[in-house]
């Protein structure tokens, strides 16, 4: 997986677990120097506004730590329910599946490197 962290959420997320995931990820990004975090939620059949917000916070924390986040595999019924509720997931990058999420992260990291190199010191 190289410079990316892959998180697969396999269980029904409760609030405390989501909070623990956020803290764990921040620590793992710091320890590994990962440039990207891929969160696979294809096993989740319910994502409520609390969990959605937690994913947004994770993406923000990762961003501050110089890592990109991609949320992948959201079930169609979950996506429709979130949009119906008015949850926009603004600020969270999403992809259809793990493969596309990896491609997205690679592209984002490459883009940033190009910017870094182009920027005068």
């Amino acid at each position: 997986m190289g410079e990316f962290l892959l998180v697969t959420v396999q269980v029904d997320m409760h609030d405390r677990l989501a909070t623990v995931l956020k803290d764990d990820l921040a620590n793992r990004i710091s320890a590994s120097g990962a440039r990207g975090v891929l969160i696979d939620i294809s096993a989740l059949d319910v994502v409520d506004s609390f969990i959605a917000r937690m994913f947004g916070t994770i993406a923000q924390v990762a961003r501050v730590m110089d890592a990109e986040t991609a949320l992948v595999g959201m079930q169609p019924s979950v996506a429709i329910t979130l949009v119906d509720m008015g949850v926009t997931m603004a600020g969270v990058r999403t992809a259809l599946n793990v493969e596309k999420g990896m491609a997205l992260l690679r592209a984002l990291v490459r883009e940033e490197r190009a910017d870094d190199e182009a920027a005068p010191e």
């Binding site: 409760h14 609030d15 959605a52 329910t81 119906d84 008015g86």
Partner: protein, 135 residues
């Protein structure tokens, strides 16, 4: 004519109660042959409103009812707490209103996921929210 097929009252005092309640709503929706989307909507509503009961209401209960009308089935959920109540209901029902650092979509978002939505609240006495989803 709406008939009550069965009902069950579940405690909502902490997060593990919330997980159990969500699971029971899921099972009920499956038993009544709700499709994946309707089931997801119902369980999401149970999660949003149940969390309100636990966090804002200081705990309470959820009444889960399986309903039958002429050609359709329904699930009715009633969340009740004896907490502080909601002082400004219009404000609490609006998008983005939050007192506890959430998204502020618990009540307003839940209302969009159900066919019927009713809320009764009195300051100092508590809150009762009843929602029904038909299929």
């Amino acid at each position: 004519m709406t008939r009550l097929l069965r009902s069950e009252t579940l405690p909502l005092d902490d997060e593990s109660d919330l997980m159990i309640a969500r699971g029971r709503v899921r099972e009920c929706a499956v038993e009544l042959d709700f499709g994946t989307l309707d089931m997801t909507r119902l369980v999401t509503v149970a999660s949003e409103l149940g969390r309100n009961t636990v966090i804002h209401g200081g705990g309470g209960s959820m009444l889960l009812e399986a309903l039958a009308a002429e050609q359709r089935h329904g699930v009715r959920l009633t969340f009740e707490d004896k907490g502080a109540g909601i002082a400004d209901l219009d404000l609490a029902m609006s998008d983005g209103f939050t007192t506890k650092g959430g998204m502020g979509l618990g009540l307003s978002g839940s209302r969009r996921l159900v066919d019927e939505f009713e809320i009764f609240t009195r300051v100092g006495e508590g809150t009762r929210v009843t929602v029904t989803r038909w299929k």
